[in-house]
Symmetry: D2
Subunit: 136 residues, 4 copies
């Protein structure tokens, strides 16, 4: 699963701000949705993982570059590309693109680091081997 | 278009709160997405409508009843059923259901009143005839 | 504590939408903040209540009327007035006003019903007597 | 105004997620509130600036490190420290701390780059001299 995964996102009123564009914090929500669907496409559902293993993924770093704004009704494509897969964390490259007739435009690019932690204590933990195998 | 329209919604981390369930204000977001897609299914895109007519839809009333909570990873079905279509406003019945193997469960039911206003002054205005014809 | 309680709220970019106004779902957030601070003013902190009693408040009904829009940088006053206090639920009247030099303007009025439930099962439960006494 | 500015933020239900902690995207909201209040403390109100100059600030980069989670009812202190002030953009260091009896704990640290753009075209522009003077 080291290929790029894509997930469509539509821009609704809830996503926009008084500048007429998508509020920049919302790209983190879009990236999260895409990561969740990327995991689900591998058969990993986070609520089930939590119940079976007692662990959850948490974001430990996010580095975002904003290139162009998105607007109401825009159709976006959000991508997930794992760059590094360790025993306790993943580094993932993510992008949000606006679909257009004359090609897609890059709106926001991010590098997100996600760690595996105990769901009670939030202390770093080793990912269950089943997850690691699927990711590798 | 007086039949019921349905739109699927998935519950992500962004939607939940520390009670482990979907934060109740977020049903208004889900209902908005479903209304937007209901309009789009009729060929009405709100950003284009605003540019061509200078008007937008705004919510003037919302009455919500919460029945059961939704949780992370739940698949919901959100419905739109117009109850009354006037010259300046619509009354719409909306419901959010959780899809389940043994049938769907009603989570939240709402009646939402949406008015048509001038996008600059926010004063009530008459809907463009093209919208009215599509809605009726 | 049957008098009206007030809590100030400032409108930030995060609160607005592409209509240039506060996204209507956000009044539920403002009302929640005011209810939380109303409880805190009585010495009730919800996270502590949950740990000591195993119960939490959940919204079971919300009826909202939108009168005027709020905009970026507006200063709002959000009120809490308990109308009915039962053993398992409260009915609360809430309003959001915009502060202005020539008087305040009513933006949104709501009636919110809040029930007490077990934090695990979300089943209705009787409020701990300490809460009831403080509320009455 | 090159000193550190601080702004208090309280954690409400709306801020949390099903992990029982503040949803990580919300730190961008907290940082935005603090920057807005930092500008306001200098006499700069963004809605008035936009009307008078036709320009707005937009975030062009955000680099976030998450250290510890915040929980419901926590009291946070959010800081603003300008690192670089250019003609078209600012680089700002921001931190969110949890207030505690035995000292404060760093929850999230960020470096945020904010550019000045034309509010219509979103093209980079030079900041009005009045802003630059206040910032320097």
């Amino acid at each position: 699963m080291r290929e790029e995964f894509s997930w469509p996102v539509r821009v609704y009123w809830e996503d926009t701000d008084a500048g007429g564009i998508v509020f920049y914090a919302n790209y983190l929500r879009y990236f999260e949705r895409a990561r969740t669907e990327w995991l689900r496409a591998m058969g990993l559902e986070q609520s089930a993982l939590r119940e079976s293993s007692g662990g959850i993924f948490v974001v430990s770093e996010a580095n975002l570059r904003y290139h162009q704004p998105a607007r109401l009704d825009d159709e976006l494509i959000v991508t997930v590309l794992p760059l590094e897969i360790g025993r306790a964390s993943l580094t993932i490259q993510q992008q949000a693109w606006r679909k257009g007739r004359s090609g897609n435009a890059l709106l926001c690019a991010a590098q997100v680091r996600v760690g595996w932690v105990d769901a009670g204590s939030y202390r770093p933990a080793r990912m269950p081997p089943t997850i690691l195998e699927l990711l590798k």
